[in-house]
Amino acid sequence: MTPSNLMNNMAFKHMQTACAYCVVVCALLFSASHVNAAKVKDLKYGGILFDYYQQDYFQALVGYEYAKATNELEHNAEEARLLQGGMTLSYGLPDEAQRIFKELLDEKVPQESRNKAWFYLAKLYYQKGEVFNAAKNLSRIQGSVPKDVAEEFNYLATLINIKNQHFDAAVSALKFVGKNSVYEPYLVFNLAISQLNSGQEEACRENLLKVIEFGKQRPEEEFLVLADRAKQALAHLSVQNNNLIEAWGFLQNVRTTGLYSNRALLSYGWTAIKLKQFNQAIPALKALNKRSISIPEVQEAKVLLGHLYEQKGATRTALKQYLLAEKSFKEGVDSISHARKVIAGQRIPEEFVVNLEAMMDETDWYGSEPSIDYTKLTPFLVELMSSNPFHSVIKELRDLYAIRNNLKYWSRQALEHQLIIKHRQQGLTSKIIQGFIAKTERKQEMFENEISDLRLHTMTLEVEEQDRFASIIESTDKSFEFLDDKLTKVKAIKEPFRQSEKNVRWAKKLHNRIRKKLVNTNKLIKKLEHVMRIVVNAELDNHEERMRYYWAQARLGKARLYDRTLNNIENEQMKKTGARP
């Protein structure tokens, strides 16, 4: 397989950013696997890999710089440089990564490393949204694609083809993606959505059905979630084609738990209503009714459920539903005010950002009552989290908090450094050492005399008693030997160790740099936290307006039912009194 086979159809057009979130997820997945069971010849290269494989890019980058500064990358220098480029990119330094990869395009660099550099540059451009440049760089790979990036190469080539709407080329490239590859279901899903956007509905359907099949063959959570999304997309297509029965069929198979179940349950309810199957709609809406009020689908379901009961003529049940909905909406608005207070808190952005991953991993968070302050925010920010700009704010903030912790650690270390330096500067002089040696020699002589006396004294004892002391005397002799050895070493010191002035100045300079960087980091954190608060509050406004809208709907429903009841009572009274309405 050569790169030109895959790339020959690329017309390098600028494309829209459909499915960007999916792409980002996959890119993260493959960035963590671009070195396989490396051949380590330099110990320090192994140390870099140890941090890298744990996705601690910061420490790995520091490790690389350190090893380079101490000339300890002799055999793995090129691999390490490539790795540095990849890590720099993953650590959010695209400009520097680009510079590193460009340096590796030098003709002196072996072909394989050069090919990898072209590949990583293409990946970098793709992540920046520059599809034209990504395609251009990918097509510059000469000869065969390096084995350890072959799968990622296919993945990237397919993504570029999809973005450029070269669907035939994308389908061909898909054949080269390994059958058990984690990328395949995502690629097929992305392809399907792009086909839909360009009007190829039939091809889109086929690919969405394939995604559902992947879910059956590999029932892991991520593929099941993707299959749920495919079923919803298919249901949406069926509704557009007025085939409600088919849509209903797809929706019946979406799981009733997980993040995408809310939209599915509501769509299921609406489809049933449109099919006049009111009784079928009620269980789905009831299931939603039990979930967190922060979810828009739940808010809609609450009012819709009341309306359904009304349609069925179950006035009492409908009235009860409206009253309960009103109560829930009031609680919802209260929880939004609480969330506003939470985000205004001093430490909350940090706690929220640092614990975000754990919170988002809790698939059933909507079913549980939040116990910690920052978790009260999470339900309102799910949609926001899927937007790339907000996601990058969170990522940058997380990195800045980590940098701040790192600098605080070094600030504490700096105090220790200064303490060591101070003691060394005020420490031993040649005179003190000479005095210490003389004193120790006097003590040694005195102890030796005492031991000698004791040894003579033991000889006057019975043989059995002498044996008892033999081991003690032996161990004392060893201690004297040890002391002798140490004393000889101290005597050999011509001049005591002094911290070099150069090192003292170096330490001071570095300590100043820590202080300056800490000030700069805090300044940037403050700016980003401000942005985060504005964006989160805007999202909370959005939620509150929606909540108040449905609250008003519930009130109107209640009023409508009261009106109707009043009318009925009046009509009844009029009938009884014989008065005309």
Partner: protein, 200 residues
């Protein structure tokens, strides 16, 4: 009385009118909620503008990140110079070759009969070792001359049985810094792990 009846009539008309309007609008309102813009435009625009400022800050953040990486490198060099000068420095590393016959759980390290380090491994660390990573387990200062080092490896051996092994080395510390590697290697012929300590 007549006034009261007029009021009732007006009230009834109003109620019926409201009911008709509500009946007509409620379903449309519910069905069309996706197209309703719940957000106040000004505030949403403010949020978008705030997000745009992040792009401008991005350059500053990138620069800070690079500088902090560089600062960490310098601090590490300086601290080693201060605490572990080359003449006395000795460092112990751990590596794992494949790890098919041994799941490493912990290591205890003794230097001249004194325990100087111990480490409990997480799954993430085991994976990192299995893929070629090398861990720096311990760094210390040693005099020139003869020393002994023993390492005790605990984990799961073939067939998932608890496995404990020890390995020892005597070495002479020279003038320069000393690197020692504790290595767990799969012995494919014997189908069991071997534990090796080697000097670099």
């Amino acid at each position: 009385m007549a006034l009261s009846q007029d009021k009732k009539l007006l009230w009834t008309y109003l109620s019926v009118f409201t009911l008709i309007i509500l009946s007509l609008t409620v379903e449309q309102a519910l069905a069309a909620n996706n197209s309703i813009n719940f957000a106040q435009d000004a505030k949403q625009k403010g949020a978008q503008a705030a997000l745009q400022t992040v792009k401008k800050l991005s350059k500053e953040i990138q620069q800070l990140k690079s500088e902090v990486v560089d600062l960490n490198k310098d601090l590490r060099l300086m601290e080693e110079e201060l605490l572990f000068p080359t003449s006395t420095q000795a460092t112990v590393f751990v590596s794992l070759d494949i790890g098919q016959f041994f799941t490493l759980e912990s290591i205890k390290l003794k230097l001249d009969d004194k325990q100087v380090a111990s480490h409990l491994y997480s799954e993430k660390q085991r994976q990192a070792l299995a893929r070629g990573g090398i861990q720096r387990l311990h760094m210390t200062n040693l005099n020139q001359g003869k020393h002994t080092m023993s390492a005790f490896f605990t984990g799961l051996g073939p067939n998932g049985r608890p496995y404990k092994r020890a390995s020892e080395i005597s070495f002479t510390k020279g003038k320069g810094s000393q690197y020692i590697e504790l290595s767990v290697v799969d012995d494919l012929d014997k189908q069991e792990p071997t534990f090796v300590i080697k000097q670099w």
